[in-house]
């Protein structure tokens, strides 16, 4: 076990439940999308669940997060209501943004979610600014920015990390390296390392197996502890993989089949499941039953959201100004 904390059944199962929920949700979005039910483009988190769940399980409820275009997992792991999330993705009035934002714009003050984001790198300054608030107001919460490997080439990310390091802001940067930005391989567009991009500012970096939720959790706990003690920012670089490509419907012809198979074998849910069984914290049947239950719940969520009304014309200008 990679964490110094003891893996208990309760904790292990909560992580398992968190990841399965995301997977079930995303697979449901995928089938809705294939059926033409999801307006626009949506980017699925399947395969990367260990990152959102591993980090979120190290956070307190008032910690703030920012996310990116591949953000449903972060929302769910932070406690989003699956119905409101699904409703927003489907453009329904019950959604977090009354259906006006969609998948790339899920903001929720209740779960301190400053938003998924359609601008690559766009959430990083928001989280860094939230951390500035925490520091200025001597609050005990911290901020987490989730972003992809592609965002690590946006200049603003460097600018933020410089200031976070200078001012020892309580912010945790979580880079999910899924080896691609859209259809382009990371090595083709990224000189040097991802870790080096924070290390240059004196920010501690942990490079971890992003398919191992316990490893992610352990690294996040360390980073969170440092931030709460006033020691400033950290970066986690999590090695992971997009199971469904860039967006729901991406045929992924640009990917190498052997590599994809290799990553499929590392499924974070299967991995944790095996470990729970090996540690006698759960048996395979109960896990499979749990999975079925969650899938059924999410299917119900989707039906509920689909049945909800779409926004009326009159709402077009609501909440433009205060």
């Amino acid at each position: 076990m990679t964490t110094n904390e003891k893996l208990t059944g309760d904790f292990g199962l909560s992580l398992y439940r968190g990841m399965v929920t995301i997977r079930a949700f995303e697979e449901r979005v995928r089938s809705l999308s294939a059926a033409g039910q999801v307006p626009g483009l949506t980017h699925l988190y399947s395969g990367q669940e260990a990152v959102a769940v591993g980090v979120s399980s190290a956070l307190q409820p008032d910690d703030a997060i920012t996310s990116h275009h591949r953000g449903h997992g972060h929302c769910l792991a932070s406690g989003a209501d699956p119905v409101r999330l699904m409703a927003e993705i489907l453009g329904r009035t019950a959604g977090y943004g009354l259906g006006r934002g969609g998948s790339m714009h899920i903001l929720d003050p209740a779960t301190r979610n400053l938003g998924t984001n359609g601008i690559v790198g766009g959430g990083v300054p928001l989280a860094t600014g939230a951390a500035l608030t925490a520091k200025t107001l001597h609050a005990s919460w911290l901020a987490v920015a989730f972003f992809g490997d592609g965002a690590m080439n946006q200049g603003i990310v460097f600018e933020c990390m410089n200031m976070a390091a200078l001012w020892k802001l309580p912010v945790l940067y979580v880079c999910e390296n899924n080896h691609y930005g859209e259809f382009t391989r990371i090595d083709d567009v990224t000189a040097g390392t991802l870790a080096g991009r924070a290390a240059v500012f004196g920010i501690p970096v942990a490079e971890i197996d992003g398919m191992d939720v316990l490893a992610v959790h352990a690294a996040a706990q360390d980073a969170v502890a440092r931030a709460r003690e006033g020691q400033g920012p950290s970066l986690l670089v999590c090695d992971t993989w997009r199971f469904s490509g860039h967006h729901a419907g991406d045929k992924q012809s640009y990917k190498d089949d052997a590599e994809a198979k290799n990553w499929a074998a590392k499924c974070p849910i299967e991995t944790l499941g095996r470990r729970l069984v090996a540690n006698k914290l759960a048996d395979a049947d109960s896990l499979s039953a749990l999975r079925k239950t969650i899938e059924a719940d999410i299917a119900a969520v989707a039906e509920q959201a689909r049945a909800m009304p779409e926004p009326a014309s009159a709402s077009l200008e609501d909440h433009l100004h205060g």
Binding site: G97, G99, R100, H105, N153, Q154, E182, Y254, E310, P311
Partner: protein, 328 residues
């Protein structure tokens, strides 16, 4: 010359390929435009034909992409930069405005910036508030840039060729909603000069002065209103900078009534400039106030029910024209 039916997107692609064949200094720079062929397949086949040194796939670094393209343009290349969505030109505005637009002026012609920045704009497909904006008014505001916005395949091809050959930085706005619309494009060399509007349909009662994809709406409105005995002339602005004031004013002086139509945000946008121009320069000819129709002043909503409301519609435009005819 023979004509073929070509989509808007393929017309641009033809222009790119032809200019790249003719001039080895033409290069493309952008995200996912290489082997992937672009997220809209708008550069399909070019990587295979011209290779990685002329179809340059970049990191997600819009500011530097624009800035580097300017340096490249100052030293001998003719870069065509692609910004994937028009919403992201926000990230390149400093380079475009503080460098590209001013280099020729500040160097007294010593350096030029033969750069094309192309970007896909507009509403459609429920891509939400950060993937749907049409910010062409910004670029048109800054002296030193040229700004074009074709409405059909032939102009898309002809203006892209002109833009690539131009010695100034040209921002080339492509309405996503036009990408798959077909139109006649002549075989062989076809160049449309920058700075010339086109009267796309002649009429007697009202001029609709339309920009980009709104020209299509204007033509449909003209057709519909012909049945109501209202004769609409349609002026396709084509170039915002330089603006062909003469063609616009000539049309309005003939019809005495004008509606200006644009898909960008209404407030402080493109319709203001053109309407103010007409109201000042054609005042004595006007039989009714110059009216405007543009997108409402809200972020562009994602939902299927709301998104269409921010696109100026045929119904809205027709109602305005009727109002122009009816009021006095």
């Amino acid at each position: 010359m023979a004509e073929r039916q070509v989509t808007f997107k393929d017309a641009v692609l033809e222009a790119l390929a032809e200019e790249m064949r003719a001039d080895p200094s033409v290069v493309l720079i952008g995200e996912d435009i290489g082997a992937a062929g672009g997220v809209f397949l708008q550069t399909k086949g070019l990587f295979e034909e011209f290779g990685a040194s002329r179809v340059i796939d970049t990191p997600i670094s819009e500011s530097a992409i624009v800035g580097m393209a300017i340096g490249a343009a100052m030293t001998g290349l003719r870069p065509v930069v692609e910004i994937m969505f028009g919403d992201f030109i926000t990230l390149g505005m400093d380079q475009l405005v503080n460098q590209a637009a001013k280099v020729r002026y500040m160097s007294a012609g010593g350096f030029t910036v033969p750069l094309v920045l192309r970007t896909a704009i507009g509403v459609g497909g429920n891509l939400g508030p950060q993937h749907s904006q049409s910010l062409h008014a910004w670029v048109a505001h800054v002296p030193g840039l040229k700004v074009v916005m074709p409405s059909n395949a032939a102009d898309a091809k002809g203006l892209m060729k002109a833009a690539i050959r131009d010695g100034d930085p040209v921002v080339f706005f492509e309405s996503r909603s036009s990408y798959n619309t077909k139109g006649p494009v002549s075989d062989g060399e076809h160049v449309v000069p920058i700075g010339k509007a086109a009267v796309t349909r002649e009429g007697r009662n009202v001029s609709i002065v339309a920009v980009g994809a709104m020209v299509g709406v204007a033509l449909q409105v003209a057709e519909r209103l012909a049945g109501e005995d209202i004769s609409v002339e349609v002026v396709d602005v084509r170039s915002l900078v330089p603006l062909d004031e003469g063609t616009i004013l000539k049309s309005v002086k003939k019809t005495s009534r004008a509606l200006v139509l644009d898909a960008g945000y209404a407030q402080f946008g493109v319709t203001g400039e053109i309407a103010a121009l007409i109201a000042e320069q054609a005042f004595d000819w006007l039989d009714a106030p110059v009216m405007r129709l543009a997108a409402p002043n809200v972020p562009i909503p994602f939902s299927r029910t709301l998104e269409p409301l921010v696109i100026p519609s045929r119904d809205q435009a027709a109602a305005k024209v009727r109002e122009l005819m009816g009021t006095r």
